[in-house]
């Protein structure tokens, strides 16, 4: 059976051959033009197919022999052609011929046949005695198609261009297609059934996969013949799967006998052959059951490849090819087929290239480039295989191949066999490539590099950088083997970087080892040492390896340095890790000159103990003007923990994951460290802005590909012990940006320490503070104040003294024993020294004990502040007949009402040429008030002494009279009242200056020894000048006042005192007709709206200046309510005519001015003009102040308290309601 690609299903034609030949061309053309729907069994989806057929002449010997169901040559349809139109002729020959044909077919079992009767007008015309044309057809139908009348068709004038001819053609073709399809369906269905039956027998002993393969492949061929490539591919895929399953089962111990032939040792490894549609060579091997596994796989794949390319799916080819190659290698392993070493590599290499060539052959360049991702796998695989072949055949070794290698190469090349005829003439065949590559070291290098670079390029193009680097790494290995470390270095470096960046520790270790080797060869001492250090600390390596690399460092370190050589600085990260730093004192804040201890905890990553010769740190210092961190004021609040903020002065450094190995620790990118930042305005601490600050930006944003150069700390290297530095004011140190460990010539440098560690050095000016021991200093009693001297940078020498300038009001009392305490900067008590205080007239000198800098000197002194006589201000609260006037007091504390005295002390300090002025505030513990209680002419004085301090006092000797009351105790916040009666002696002045004095001492100072301190209170007393009596008289004829009824108000003003000489000046009086009179103004005001004053309510009277002179005034008032009503208020003022001292407005709280304006106008009789002047003045005052100043103005002046006695103060009068009060109407003007 031979079948070639492009074959078509055969259709056998019998009958008139010349007739058929004339129609053949158009028939072959017309048949595929129209598609037909192919309905198929087993639920497969119907398809539209274009039928084609190979029309062959009917020959009996071509008919399939009995039982041979080969589909390929199976005639799907038999056609008998005739153009007979003559009954005679039909009867004579044609019918017999047809009968013979039919019987042959029947013998063969073919039931798919068709008789075509071709009619032509030309023929008809020639024959005159023709029957009606239908008769021939009818006859044939009658004779042959007893029930299948459609088996006979008429084709009219096929060679003519007429519509009739076309119609007949199309109906003929439709029939032909239908019959062909029917035949396909029937025959294929039968074939498939047979095939399935065969497959079901696969468990039976005699079953052979190769036989079954042939059967199913035939089906595939038929599908391919019918252009059904998809279906054809399915057949091969099924075969593939079946075979794979057998191999797997074999692996699982369930072997099939037939599989034995595939387990034969592999003798040929010539690779895939994809250039032929069908590899007949291999197919025959399979047919004969002699194929090896590789043969079968190769053949199967070549068929699949062909079909896939027909289907225009080239990228599936590459994908399947890779799978196939991997699979084959696995299967050979699984079946334990013996293969010459390297043979499979050859096969895979050749196959990869063959597939790539095949794909290149059917795609254009752009397509290929766009689909790198599909081909790159094959390129890589080929590269790998070539590489392993190279290693195998000794082509990579520096010395070149040995004879053994050469023998092996010859064996391998022998297995390739002869080059196939298809590629003999091509220059670039895979066969030639492999041959050439294995022929010499140089050729191998050329081909290997070519392939590697191609694969790398492709990977890079599709963004698979890791894969690209992996190839680069194997290239580096190749270069290293070739003894070319220069070229290897960049590849290694590239991969190492990527592994480090992505944190893959094993790869890092492995690549680093290669790198170390490379650097060693390149004599890059520093890099080599660095890599060695990293490797020595790498936990992924064995102990021996680590020790080896450690030894490398030690060896170098112990070499005597060449004169030109400097020490080598390496990164410390590989060598040791800084784990912890501890400051002592913990705050890491020290003053200038103090010692700061820094304890470092370093973890050595080396496999063995290391003797470190030197440890040095470099400091970076920055000047902070704001002073110490603590004093800077929280403009920046940090939410994250501050290293120093931990309280114990310990700074821990973050560790890289210890599992991943020490080398990894350094490579981990640091995490973001974010802090909250708040910017507050300095004045009211309101929030201006807030934000997030990244503190380790410099680490995150720096370029990762450029390695930072390591600076060896040169200046400022510190001795191993504690750090001693003398520095200036307000420095804070970040410590240390660089720290170094040295071993011999090798230095390990840590370029950055993170988190930033810093300590602060500060310098302080000496400072003197004086503060009271208690909360408040009280005036009048001796109290202790504390002097505190922070020495700062000043060293208090012997003989240094504080000079206090004395003031009279505050003497410094020196007690006998006075000692000073010296405290160290941390608050520890250092010692106690005596203190000598010497006082001269002006200066008190305190000689200080010697004190070292940054210490605190404390001592206490007793001071006393004298209470100045009160009131030092005239306005003190007074009580006069229950009338209270409040005045604001500027000097009293708002809360306690204590009066305070600021006492300034000027001190000369030895460290400064300037005097220090210190203010102490003393509080006066007492407040005194007095009130005069008058009863007619009799007067009582009450003095109230209030203790406003928190201390209890004893009071002694309150002096105003001869009488001495018992010593009272004035408790805190309490008052003592003293009462005296006054009798006026003759010729006493109207006004009397009085003084109250008492002695006091704190109660707490219990013993009698307590020194009483004087307290003085001065005040002024006035005699009663006038008495005022008011009387309310009901309207005439009535016994009581009634609401709404006018009542008379009689006010009588009586002069009480004789005038005196001194008085004259005080009281404004006028001489009228030899009688001295003084003018008073009275006024009736009812603030409580009980009364309506009718008529005039005020007026001016002239009082004679004589005792018992009385003046009566009548007025009318009307009660507005019933009940006991208090009398309306009556006020009296001094009335000073305009001749008096220029205008001072009358006392502020006289409210009469505006209220009574109209009344004044009306009510004043003889002094009417004065009132009008006043009135005018008032009006003027609204208009212009200037004029008012210029005008002579009368004015009112109130009497001092106690000068007027109000008889009727507090009196009430009964008012009865009117009977018909509900209609009362009151008009008040």
């Amino acid at each position: 059976v031979s079948w070639r690609a492009g074959s078509l299903p055969p259709v056998m034609c019998a009958g008139d051959q010349s007739l058929f030949t004339s129609l053949y061309t158009s028939l072959a053309q017309q048949l595929p033009k129209e598609p037909m729907e192919w309905r198929r069994s087993y639920g497969r989806a119907p398809k539209m197919i274009h039928l084609e057929a190979n029309f062959v002449q009917f020959k009996e010997e071509l008919l399939p022999k009995d039982g041979n169901r080969a589909l390929l040559t199976f005639p799907f349809l038999h056609i008998y052609w005739t153009d007979c139109c003559d009954t005679e002729m039909y009867k004579a020959s044609v019918k017999d011929d047809m009968l013979r044909w039919q019987s042959t077919l029947r013998l063969d079992g073919s039931v798919d046949w068709l008789i075509v009767v071709v009619e032509s007008e030309a023929k008809k015309k020639n024959k005159t005695n023709i029957l009606p044309r239908t008769s021939i057809v009818d006859k044939i139908r009658n004779d042959f198609c007893n029930k299948q009348s459609d088996r006979c068709v008429v084709l009219s004038d096929p060679l003519k261009e007429s519509s009739r001819s076309q119609d007949s053609w199309s109906s003929f073709l439709t029939k032909l297609r239908t019959l062909l399809l029917m035949s396909f369906t029937k025959n294929l269905g039968r074939f498939e059934d047979d095939m399935r039956t065969l497959r079901e027998k696969r468990t039976e002993p005699g079953w052979s996969f190769c036989d079954y393969f042939m059967v199913q492949e035939e089906l595939a061929f038929v599908f391919e013949m019918l252009q059904q490539f998809e279906d054809a591919l399915v057949q091969y895929d099924e075969l593939d799967a079946l075979f794979t399953q057998y191999v797997l089962n074999f692996g699982a111990g369930d072997g099939a006998n037939w599989l034995g032939s595939f387990c034969a040792p592999v003798k040929r490894w010539s690779g895939l052959l994809l250039r032929r549609p069908i590899d007949m060579e291999k197919r025959e091997l399979i047919q004969r059951g002699e194929a090896s596994l590789l043969d079968l796989r190769s053949y199967l794949f070549s068929r699949q490849c062909t079909l896939l390319i027909f289907l225009q799916r080239p990228w599936e080819v590459t994908q399947r090819a890779l799978e196939l190659l991997h699979n084959c290698v696995q299967e050979l392993r699984l079946l334990e087929v013996s293969v010459v070493q390297g043979a499979l590599d050859c096969w895979v290499f050749l196959s990869c290239l063959e597939v790539l060539h095949r794909i290149e052959g059917c795609c254009d360049r752009a397509q290929l480039e766009a689909n790198c991702s599909h081909t790159v796998g094959l390129w890589t695989y080929a590269t790998e295989k070539l590489k392993s072949l190279g290693y195998l055949c000794g082509l990579v070794a520096e010395k070149g191949p040995t004879s053994e290698d050469l023998n092996r190469t010859v064996d391998l090349l022998a297995g390739l066999g002869e080059e196939r005829p298809e590629t003999v003439n091509s220059l670039q065949s895979p066969y030639k490539k492999l041959n050439e590559a294995l022929s010499s070291v140089e050729a191998f290098e050329k081909h290997y590099l070519e392939l590697s670079h191609a694969a790398m390029e492709m990977y890079r193009a599709i963004g698979r950088m890791r894969s690209s680097r992996l190839i680069g790494k194997s290239l580096a290995e190749f270069y290293m083997k070739k003894g070319d470390p220069e070229r290897a270095e960049c590849f290694l470096d590239d991969s190492l970087r990527s592994y480090v960046a992505e944190g893959w520790s094993l790869q890092v270790t492995h690549t680093r080892k290669q790198m170390a080797e490379c650097q060693k060869l390149l004599q890059q001492t520093e890099d080599y040492l660095q890599t060695s250090a990293l490797l020595a600390g790498d936990a992924n390596l064995t102990e021996e390896e680590r020790k080896h690399f450690y030894q490398v460092i030690l060896t170098f370190a112990s070499q005597p340095p060449a004169p030109s050589d400097q020490t080598v600085a390496l990164s410390m990260a590989a060598f040791a890790q800084l784990r912890q730093m501890q400051f002592s004192p913990p705050g890491a804040v020290v003053h200038v000159g103090a010692a700061l201890q820094l304890e470092l905890r370093v973890r050595c990553l080396m496999p063995v103990a290391v003797q470190v010769e030197q440890l040095a740190a470099t400091l970076h210092f920055s000047l902070e003007q704001g002073g110490a961190r603590g004093r800077a004021g929280g403009t920046q609040r940090r939410t994250g923990q501050e290293p120093q903020g931990q309280g114990d002065g310990v700074v821990l450094f973050p560790q890289g994951s210890s599992l991943a190995g020490a080398g990894m620790g350094a490579s981990l990118p640091p995490a973001l460290e974010l802090y909250e930042m708040q910017d507050r305005s300095p004045s009211d601490s309101s929030l201006n802005s807030t934000g997030v600050v990244c503190k380790n930006m410099h680490l995150l944003l720096r370029r990762h590909d450029s390695s930072a150069s390591l600076d060896t700390p040169t200046a400022g290297a510190l001795p191993r012990s504690s750090v001693t530095l003398s520095l200036l004011v307000g420095l804070s140190f970040s410590l240390p940006p660089l720290s170094t460990l040295s071993v011999g010539r090798v230095q390990f440098v840590q370029s950055h320490i993170y988190p930033v560690v810093q300590y602060e050095v500060y310098s302080q000016e000496p400072q003197l503070t004086i503060e009271p021991l208690s909360d408040n200093l009280l005036a009048g009693i001796p109290q202790k104040v504390k002097f505190t001297i922070a020495t700062g940078h000043y060293n208090v020498k012997k003989g240094d003294a504080l000079q206090l300038s004395n003031t009279d009001s505050m003497p410094i009392l020196h007690s006998s024993c006075c000692s000073a305490t010296i405290l160290s900067s941390t608050g520890e008590r250092v010692g106690e020294r005596a203190l000598s205080v010497q006082s001269s007239e002006k200066v008190t000198s305190i000689s200080l004990p010697p004190t070292p800098p940054y210490h605190t000197l404390e001592f206490q002194l007793e001071v006393l502040c004298h209470i100045p006589p009160t009131p030092f201000k005239p306005d003190i609260e007074r009580l006069t007949n229950g009338e209270v006037r409040h005045r604001p007091k500027s000097h009293s504390q708002a809360d306690s009402g204590m009066i305070h005295i600021d006492q300034k002390v000027s001190i000369d300090c030895p460290w400064s040429i300037y005097s220090t002025l210190i203010s102490l505030t003393f509080y006066v513990p007492f407040k005194a008030k007095h009130s005069i209680l008058s009863a007619g002419k009799r007067k009582y004085i009450q003095v109230c002494l209030q203790n406003v301090s928190d201390t209890n006092f004893q009071l002694a000797d309150p002096v105003l009279t001869e009488r001495q009351p018992t010593i009272p105790t004035v408790c805190s916040q309490q008052s003592v009242f003293c009462l005296w009666e006054m009798r006026w002696a003759k010729h006493l002045p109207l006004c009397l200056q009085c003084a109250f004095s008492a002695s006091f001492a704190p109660v707490s100072a219990s013993d009698a020894h307590t020194a009483f301190k004087p307290y003085r209170y001065e005040f002024q007393l006035d005699r009663t000048l006038y008495s005022l009596k008011a009387e309310i008289l009901p309207s005439s004829g009535d016994q009581h006042c009634r609401t709404g009824a006018l009542c008379g108000l009689e006010v009588s003003i009586t002069r009480q005192a004789e005038p005196s000489e001194t008085e004259g000046e005080e009281e404004e009086s006028t001489e009228i007709e030899g009688l001295r009179t003084t003018k008073l103004m009275y006024e009736v005001v009812d603030n409580s709206s009980n009364w309506a004053v009718c008529g005039k309510s005020s007026g001016v009277v002239s009082m004679p200046v004589a005792a018992s002179a009385t003046h009566r005034v009548q007025m009318e008032v009307m009660p507005l309510f019933a009940g006991h009503l208090p009398f309306p208020n009556i006020k009296v003022f001094k009335y000073l005519p305009h001749s008096a001292v220029p205008a001072i407005q009358p006392d502020t709280d006289s409210c009469l001015e505006n209220d009574t304006m109209s009344l004044l106008d009306k009510g004043l009789d003889d002094q009417g003009d004065t009132a009008s002047i006043r009135s005018r003045g008032s009006i003027h005052s609204v208009g212009s102040g200037e004029q008012q100043r210029g005008l002579p103005m009368p004015r009112l002046e109130p009497f001092s308290p106690g000068q007027v006695f109000y008889w009727s103060q507090g009196r009430q009068v009964l008012v009865l309601p009117v009977t018909d009060d509900h209609v009362m109407e009151v008009n008040v003007t």
Partner: protein, 163 residues
């Protein structure tokens, strides 16, 4: 599960990967913080560990390719299981990516035929669940290498079962 997803989703950069070899009972898991940093890696036995690591690392190329091939809009409905990443002669490499871009990689020896797609898929699902548990641990700092015993035992169990 939901909780974890929310936690990581913000950081698209957070990527993990994970891989298992089975025939030799090796389980590797990786994650990446800045990029493809290994979170957990395990392979049994260890003699070929280095090769596994190289394989897993290289496979991340394909994982990334597959992730980016899926449109952003489709990311939510994306199938987490990426299937066979690529075959090599010795191993089959399978990938799985969570919605938070945590990558799991399982490497299976090619000769292991008992593990089909479905088994691999369920292994990934188990891993994912277990990983979610790890993430739920308040003491676990997302991004650290996984040192959870529970996770470890699940991985071990899977490897024993698979081999």
């Amino acid at each position: 599960m939901h909780q974890v997803r929310l936690q990581i989703k913000g950081s698209d950069e957070a990527r993990y990967s994970y891989s298992i070899d089975v025939q030799i009972s090796a389980v590797l898991q990786y994650w990446s913080k800045p990029k493809n940093y290994p979170l957990f890696i395990r392979s049994v036995p260890v003699q070929n560990e280095l090769k596994f690591h190289y394989t897993v690392h290289t496979s991340l190329d394909v994982v990334e390719e597959k992730i980016s091939a899926v449109g952003k809009a489709m990311a939510d409905q994306r199938e987490l299981y990426l299937g066979l990443l690529y075959p090599t002669e010795d191993y089959k490499v399978y990938g799985y990516v969570t919605n938070s871009k945590v990558k799991f990689v399982i490497v299976v020896d090619s000769s292991n035929t008992s593990l089909r797609d479905n088994e691999i898929r369920s292994m990934f699902r188990k891993l994912h669940n277990s990983f979610t548990d790890v993430m739920c641990n308040p003491f676990y700092n997302p991004g650290d290498t996984i040192q959870s015993k529970a996770f470890d035992s699940i991985v071990s169990a899977m490897m024993v079962q698979a081999s």
